[in-house]
């Protein structure tokens, strides 16, 4: 596909071109800088595990973002949905003493429900009042952060006074590790399975067909009997649920408790991941690994080559601008 190829070219040029310029400005040879980056991401078993962990943390919200985008909804609220999903998972997990075989499913379900509810709010506002979902989701990110902070330090406090985290989850609620000693857990496998399931849902089911129709040609979809309001609500709820599930896996897998700082912006980087993956769940898996590499290798790049880690943020931001900007322009032209 022509567009995918062009998008990929843009990304490669941005990553290596702008990355090189930034490194030169920091008086580092790009060869050394990128060498350190790759080496830090894939050099040892534990570094590979860290890259895949970062990929997993990006993959959930990216899949969520993609669902909304395919329905024509610009959900930039994955960060808040992920955070509240993580909070719900952490609180329930630490609050209720549950046996192993129900603990993990229930904790994950709590995360998905919380994220889904948070995504459903802008979906409902859009369906009922035609409110712009970009602004609603953007603002709800801030609300989510404040709400989680308030709950965890206030009415639903479990840790010490003033601590911005929940209590520790019992062992039964910990996701099994894939590589002991690393953060890589079975969440990676769950995310892969989810990607395949979502692709199937989007491409092969009536629900996916109607969701894509609503996104690609809303007026034609409406006249074909598709309820645009209901589709927006369900797509946003599902989008938020997948992001919320991601937050829950970070809590049950990596941290074993909820902490208000659990995401370094996964929900935002996920927008770039989803767009680079052309909103196709399987390509998003590939894109998430690439961005996971940037995340994990960035630390090594700073330590070993002296390139500021912010270069990774710079490149990610430019990718979002280049790909998302063009998509928004294209959709406005149609509307």
């Amino acid at each position: 596909m022509n567009r995918t190829a062009r998008d990929l070219l843009i990304v490669v040029v941005l990553v290596f071109g702008v990355g090189s310029i930034a490194m030169l400005l920091a008086h580092v040879s790009p060869l050394d800088g990128f060498g350190a980056l790759f080496d830090g991401a894939f050099g040892t078993r534990s570094e590979v595990a860290e890259t895949l962990t970062q990929a997993t943390n990006l993959l959930f919200p990216a899949l969520g973002v993609a669902i909304a985008f395919r329905a024509g909804l610009f959900n930039i609220g994955a960060e808040g949905q992920l955070l509240l999903g993580g909070f719900a998972a952490g609180w329930i997990g630490a609050e209720l003493p549950l046996p192993g075989y129900v603990a993990i499913p229930l904790v994950l379900l709590a995360g998905a429900l919380a994220g889904g509810a948070w995504g459903a709010i802008p979906g409902f506002l859009r369906a009922r009042f035609g409110a712009n979902e970009v602004i609603a989701t953007l603002m709800l990110n801030v609300v989510a952060t404040l709400l989680a902070t308030y709950l965890v330090t206030g009415p639903l406090q479990q840790g010490g006074a003033g601590a911005s985290e929940t209590g520790v989850l019992p062992k039964a609620a910990h996701l099994p590790d894939l590589l002991p000693g690393s953060h890589l857990t079975s969440a990676f496998g769950l995310a892969l399975v989810l990607a395949f399931v979502l692709r199937w849902v989007l491409q092969r089911t009536v629900f996916g067909y109607e969701l894509r129709a609503a996104g690609d040609a809303p007026e034609a979809a409406r006249r074909a009997g598709i309820d645009l309001g209901r589709t927006a609500l369900v797509a946003m709820a599902l989008s938020g649920a997948v992001a919320g599930l991601g937050g829950a896996t970070i809590v049950t897998g990596e941290l074993h408790r909820f902490n208000t700082g659990l995401s370094p912006g996964y929900g935002f980087i996920a927008i770039a991941v989803a767009l680079v993956g052309n909103l196709d769940p399987l390509w998003i898996v590939v894109a998430s690994i690439a961005f996971g590499m940037l995340q994990s290798g960035g630390i090594a790049m700073q330590a070993e080559a002296g390139v500021p880690r912010e270069v990774v943020s710079l490149v990610t931001g430019l990718v979002i601008l280049a790909l998302a900007g063009r998509r928004v322009v294209a959709s406005r032209r149609i509307a």
């Binding site: 109607e210 690609d216 040609a217 034609a220 979809a221 409406r222």
Partner: protein, 460 residues
């Protein structure tokens, strides 16, 4: 794909030259090459002076004023700012000079189609083109607007402009052009002085044989199907008030009227897009005012929307998935391909490929898909809103024949069209609509062209 192959075309100052051909014959591509929007692989284009192009689909900025659109990028300046007074005066002088009355300060999106066309034309005229290319300029115009439009074009030609009209409407070719070039499959197949040819001859050359005859009309039961009493509805700016009519099974009822006289409100009320007041009985049970389009589809009411690109097709999707649209809940996915092939075969869709992307097809082939899928589920009532808009003779005849066949098979058809010839060719009964009110009804045997024209213009 080769859209245009080894074509020579010469335009002379002061002449109106018609370029005609079937869908996909290469007319629009040729015009785009002449304008410079498309690069030719081989060959040259030479023009003395500026070349202007008026698109079939208007390229106006809807939210800006008329003068802002006309002078876009050529605004008269005063220092750093735009000289609004001079700009307004320039547009007013231009519109008076060509007899194209339009308010320079009107916001474009509030204007009717015919006036938008004037704005489009004024924008090109401001550049003082020596060659003016008009791509299907009358596709959206009412009969009276068409006459006024060509008066302007003839005036332009008298002033020395070379005008190329790309069209499929042969009556306009015969009435207004001096020379005709006929294209088929990317090549020029005939050139005529208009005075020495006829519409029939041109039509045969376009199609490459005889124009297909319409399907024969069979006797039908005419059993009551749709009974509408006191129907009022609003869709955007389109208003319909107090309409009473009926459609029988196996009957085509034509609604004749100039665009913007309540047709959209009528179609959208029946489609379930907008609520209505009044009573509609369909097949013995009422339609409810706040039903959704899905409810109407379930009842067997299917609509061919006016705007196939926005209201009917998902342009990014392939033909297969587009054919299923509207039946996605009832048609199993494994049957999508077979359903698409049925439509492709019955409607001669080219290319005959279910994987072809809908947006890449010509307008005629897009319309064949829309009409094909609408008739595929054996609908009880078909609302056909401008079913042959902007498509060529061959494709239009095919679409019209399929509508007659649906009627013969017992479907009721409400044909809303701005082209009187189409209504007269198809309808068993003609209703005339003007200002949102049904102004008259004529049986097929008693059609009075002059009277219908007067009623359409609002003269009761």
């Amino acid at each position: 794909m080769q859209a245009v192959d080894g074509v020579d075309l010469e335009l002379h100052p002061g002449e109106i030259h018609a370029l005609v051909g079937e869908n996909g014959a290469g007319k629009s591509t040729l015009a785009a090459i002449a304008y410079g929007a498309v690069r030719a692989d081989d060959g040259t284009v030479e023009a003395a002076g500026v070349v202007g192009l008026v698109h079939q689909h208007f390229k106006l900025i809807e939210r800006l004023r008329v003068w802002e659109n006309v002078l876009l990028n050529r605004e008269p300046r005063r220092g750093w700012s735009i000289d609004v007074v001079a700009a307004r005066a320039r547009v007013r002088a231009l519109s008076e000079s060509y007899g194209l009355a339009v308010d320079p300060d009107a916001i474009v999106e509030t204007l009717p189609v015919g006036i938008k066309q004037r704005v489009e034309l004024l924008r090109e005229l401001d550049r003082e083109p020596s060659v003016l290319l008009l791509d299907e300029p009358t596709a959206a115009l009412a009969p009276s607007e068409i006459a006024a439009f060509f008066t302007t074009v003839q005036d332009l030609a008298r002033r020395g402009t070379a005008v190329l009209v790309v069209t499929h409407k042969l009556a306009e070719v015969i009435a207004y052009s001096q020379r005709v070039t006929v294209m088929r499959a990317g090549r020029v197949v005939a050139r005529h002085l208009t005075a020495e040819t006829s519409a029939d001859e041109i039509a045969r050359e376009m199609v490459g044989g005889d124009v297909p005859a319409l399907a024969a009309r069979a006797a039908t039961s005419n059993a009551p199907l749709l009974e509408v009493r006191g129907l009022s509805a609003q869709s955007g700016t389109s208003l319909l008030s107090d309409a009473t009519f009926s459609i029988g099974a196996g009957e085509i009822v034509g609604v004749a009227g100039i665009e913007g006289n309540g047709q959209s409100a009528l179609a959208d009320a029946l489609a379930g897009i907008v609520p209505f007041e009044g009573a509609i009985d369909f097949g013995g049970a009422p339609l409810r005012p706040f039903d959704t389009p899905a409810d109407r589809l379930k009842r067997g009411i299917r609509v061919i929307p006016q705007d196939r690109r926005h209201e009917a097709l998902v342009l990014d999707w392939n033909v297969r998935d587009n054919v299923a649209l509207g039946r996605q809940r009832t048609l199993p996915r494994r049957d999508f391909d077979a359903a698409a092939r049925v439509v492709i075969d019955r409607f001669d869709v080219r290319p005959p490929d279910p994987d072809a992307i809908a947006g890449a097809l010509s307008g005629g082939n897009q319309q064949k898909i829309v009409v094909g899928r609408t008739l595929a589920g054996d609908p009880k009532l078909v609302v056909a809103y401008q079913p042959t808009r902007g498509i060529d003779i061959g494709a239009a005849a095919l679409v019209q024949s399929r509508l007659i066949e649906a009627r013969n098979a017992g479907a009721g058809v409400l044909l809303i069209s701005f082209e009187l010839d189409e209504i007269f060719a198809l309808a068993d009964r003609v209703l005339v609509i003007a200002n949102g009110i049904f102004a008259g009804a004529f049986e097929r045997a008693a059609i009075d062209r002059g009277r219908i024209g007067a009623l359409m213009a609002g003269n009761a």
